[in-house]
Amino acid sequence: MVTPETLVAASVIVYIVALTLYTVRVVKGPTIPDRILAVDALTYDLAALIAVIGLLLRSPLLVPSAIVLSLWVYALDLYVAKYLEGRELGD
């Protein structure tokens, strides 16, 4: 018997596999932009995973964390990009 709950639980397993692969790229990545890109993608997935976990645990209050998490990784992108261009952070 396939219920929606089993589909959601199966997608959590798929997400965990994907997270492991992203982590390998973060640790291995030869250059700085590679690592930042992998952290970026990993965190967007974690934001989606937060929403899915909130569904699985039946706690609607967990979901606003996804908004915050996805926003501030964008800020991390901006800082590192500005550093890589060799300029002052407030320029």
């Binding site: 209050l61 606003p64 908004i67 915050v68 926003l71 501030w72 964008y74 800020a75 901006l78 800082y79 990009a81 500005k82 002052e88 952070l89 407030g90 320029d91």
Partner: protein, 263 residues
């Protein structure tokens, strides 16, 4: 070279014993518990209890009611520590004005994205701060979120762009306004015959902030504390970061001028 190995071994010993004391020896393996402690049980029971008006905080969220009602004086002194640190930073950078030169910033695509997202993020921050008594969130959370908005604007446009809208004096003024608001909300019950940090009516004093405004649950003073605390945290963190990121030449010039005066 024997002394070097001795130093390494002693560092390792200190590290292991200290982390053992902090982590495993203090906690044991008895976590997680089957039930919560009786203090926590009392807090959760009393956070929203209209049938027990002399003890409740009238807020469905237990964390915010602990922060600003049950343990309000604790939070007040923690806020004092926070602003002590901010005042220390401002004092270290005394005499330095953040430069008003508007730089070129990032590319046009990043600027457009920031111009679209910044009002949205500010709305999210305001929602987090002002719904702090109903859903997870509160003054500290909303203030930290709003501070990052200022930081994103700073990086995407430039420092001068932010300073042209929010100068050092204006940030200091906002921060002081937040602190004064907290003090006023804490002291108004004292003037009207209550006690400091009072929220709902107690047995000794009948003063009470309104728990419902227009039929909506506002939890008395918690709404005002969240509003003012988010203002103070956002302005204070933005101020220190603006000072920390001010260009090298400006700081160098200010420090050198000070030494000339001393000589």
């Amino acid at each position: 070279m024997a002394s070097r190995y001795l130093i390494a071994a002693s560092i390792a010993l200190v590290v292991v014993s200290l982390s053992f004391a902090v982590a495993y020896g203090a906690l044991g393996t008895a976590v997680p518990l089957e039930n919560i402690r009786s203090l926590a049980r009392a807090y959760v029971t009393l956070a929203y209890a209209p049938w027990n008006r002399t003890l409740t905080a009238m807020s469905p969220e237990a964390v915010t009611s602990i922060v600003w009602d049950f343990r309000g004086v604790d939070t007040f002194f923690e806020t004092t520590v926070l602003f002590g640190a901010i005042i220390g930073t401002v004092t270290l950078f005394r005499g330095i004005k953040p430069s008003a030169r508007i730089g070129e910033g990032l590319s046009i695509i990043a600027r457009s994205a920031a111009a679209v997202t910044a009002p949205m993020i500010l709305a999210v921050a305001a929602a987090i701060a002002l719904h702090g008594h109903l859903t997870p969130g509160g003054g500290f959370q909303g203030g930290a979120t709003a501070a990052v908005v200022a930081l994103v604007i700073l990086v995407t446009f430039s420092l001068g762009y932010l300073v042209s809208g929010l100068s050092k004096e204006r940030a200091l003024m906002l921060r002081s306004a937040g602190l004064l608001g907290i003090a006023a909300v804490a002291l108004i019950p004292l003037i009207l015959g209550g006690v400091v940090f009072q929220n709902q009516a107690k047995e000794l004093s009948q003063f009470s902030y309104p728990a419902y405004i227009g039929g909506a649950l506002t939890s008395g003073s918690l709404l005002f504390y969240n509003l003012f605390e988010s203002l103070a945290v956002a302005a204070g963190l933005t101020l220190t970061i603006m000072l920390l990121l001010s260009p090298h030449e400006v700081v160098e010039e200010a420090v050198r001028g000070e030494e000339h005066e001393r000589v």
